[in-house]
């Protein structure tokens, strides 16, 4: 696997009156081109910090983030960010919100081409009829659709999603997960998403990175999701592996996330028979 995004020895430390507070400690992660990676962990464990550092919205203390051979040290439109709140500018219509970024990225394109890009992405996320509406006239789900369209329309090298569906009801969440994964497939994007929804992580990701609790959050474990794409939500939910994987993730969140991985047993008590993905994982760790 050729690395596309490399996060190495990432540390985030805030100075406080009581001494430095280590939020994220020695975070290492390598993502291949076209991969969909999810970070899961408890709220406040530092997963969003990692994402905002990759987005360039927050500075790292030590370590490095390299995207497509170039070090990341500021925010820029080469990374499309979908925030938890859709973060649309309320004085612009859906169309204008997407256009704002498109103008910036495709400044050499003709107005007609830009118009087509904006229209295309708003159509794809299912907002063909609501392009001229203001955010206040759109539902929460529709606003997040605009957020997704805005991120993809920039034609970024990579997508960063910070709990993008966290504020939506579960039906809308399912719909938008589908919208996201379809676009991801179509545009062949590399994606890094933060969530605390285990089912969302399984449905969307190639690999799931579990983060231990902060402070001093670090990578607890990484599992590969064994289901072939395109995935059918109902189909995969009926597979026995689904529940094993789900159990494993939840067990991690409930029990092991409090332990320091450095102090953990190399392989904690794991139910028999050992699921296939942890073996793949082992092999991957060795080859990496």
């Amino acid at each position: 696997m050729k690395p596309y995004l490399e996060i190495s020895k990432l540390n985030k430390i805030y100075p406080t009156p009581k001494g430095p507070a280590v939020i994220v400690k020695d975070f290492d992660l390598t993502i291949g081109k076209g991969e969909f990676i999810t970070l899961i962990g408890h709220s406040g464990c530092g997963k969003s910090t990692v994402l905002s550092i990759v987005a360039g919205l927050s500075d790292l203390t030590t370590g490095a983030v390299v995207l497509a051979g170039r070090e990341v040290n500021a925010a820029g439109p080469d990374r499309g960010v979908v925030f938890q709140a859709p973060c649309l500018l309320p004085w612009f219509t859906a169309y204008q919100n997407v256009m704002l970024g498109v103008e910036q990225v495709f400044f050499t394109a003709s107005p007609e081409e830009r118009h087509q890009i904006v229209e295309y992405y708003l159509h794809v996320v299912g907002l063909g009829d609501s392009m001229q509406k203001y955010p206040s006239e759109l539902s929460g789900g529709m606003r997040q659709r605009v957020g997704i369209a805005r991120a993809f329309a920039l034609s970024p090298k990579m997508l960063l999603l910070d709990e993008p569906f966290g504020m939506l009801d579960s039906l809308t969440r399912y719909e938008l997960q589908q919208v996201l994964i379809d676009l991801w497939k179509k545009d062949q994007k590399t994606a890094l998403m933060v969530t605390h929804d285990v089912d969302e992580a399984i449905f969307l990701s190639d690999r799931i990175v579990m983060m231990s609790d902060g402070p001093e959050a670090e990578v607890g474990d990484i599992v590969r999701v064994p289901f072939a794409r395109p995935r059918d939500r109902r189909e995969i939910m009926e597979m026995p592996e689904y529940y094993e994987l789900r159990e494993y993730l939840i067990e991690f969140l409930n029990e092991r996330s409090h332990d320091r991985p450095s102090k953990m047993n190399p392989r904690p008590a794991f139910r028999d028979p050992e699921p296939i993905w942890s073996k793949i994982n082992e092999i991957q760790k060795i080859t990496a």
Partner: protein, 263 residues
Amino acid sequence: MSEQFEKKIKDYVILPLFGVLCFMLLWCLICSVTDNLPNPIKMWQKSELFIYEPFAKRGEMDQGILRFTGLSISLVGQGYLVALIFGTPLGFFLGLSKLFTRSFDPIIQILRPVSPLAWYPLGLVLFELSPEPSYFASLFTISVCAMWPTVLNTAVGVRAIPQDYLNVAKVLKLSRSKTLFKVLIPATLPYMFTGFRLSLGIAWLVIVAVEMLKGQPGIGGFLWDAYNAGNYSLVILCILVIGLVGFTLDRLMSLVEGKFKTA
């Protein structure tokens, strides 16, 4: 429907009329004790001429009431415009830069409570060599006094811009001018308009003081002139007109302000 209508009539017609009636009664009561103050009927008879011929001009200090009001509004408008032109950018600088706030906030806080009566002489000195010192001094006084609400509200508005919007600007790597015009200014508008409304109120307060000092033709100058002539009916007329105009201006500004609040 009709019940609602009745409630509206009660809330917006009957109760306010009751308040006016109480006010009139108090007025008459005071008149019955002292001879100095004209009662409402006397007042009306004395000021009829200025109301029935609102735009007449019989002399420098003998003009219809709306003509005087117009003169005052025009001066206030000019001073107010100057206040906005200087106050809004100043507010932006204060909101955007901590360094700027630390440097200039103390002096602003000290200048802010200074009365218009104190600024006017300074204005006369400053514009001594100009063709019309009293005109420029008035303008100076109105704008200096009216500027502060705009400055402070704009600064608060800029500081209150949600980090989300700033992140959007950062992620899209908007240029400085685009960030200013497409993100910062629209996000601050509601606060700016609150400042604009308060500033207009102050500008209108200041005009009377300024005109009294210089005896310029205008509603404040007319009031002072009427007092000197012992014509207290006209003093009351001026007070009522000043109040009505101030109220109308404030209503108009809140209409505009409301437009931006919904965004």
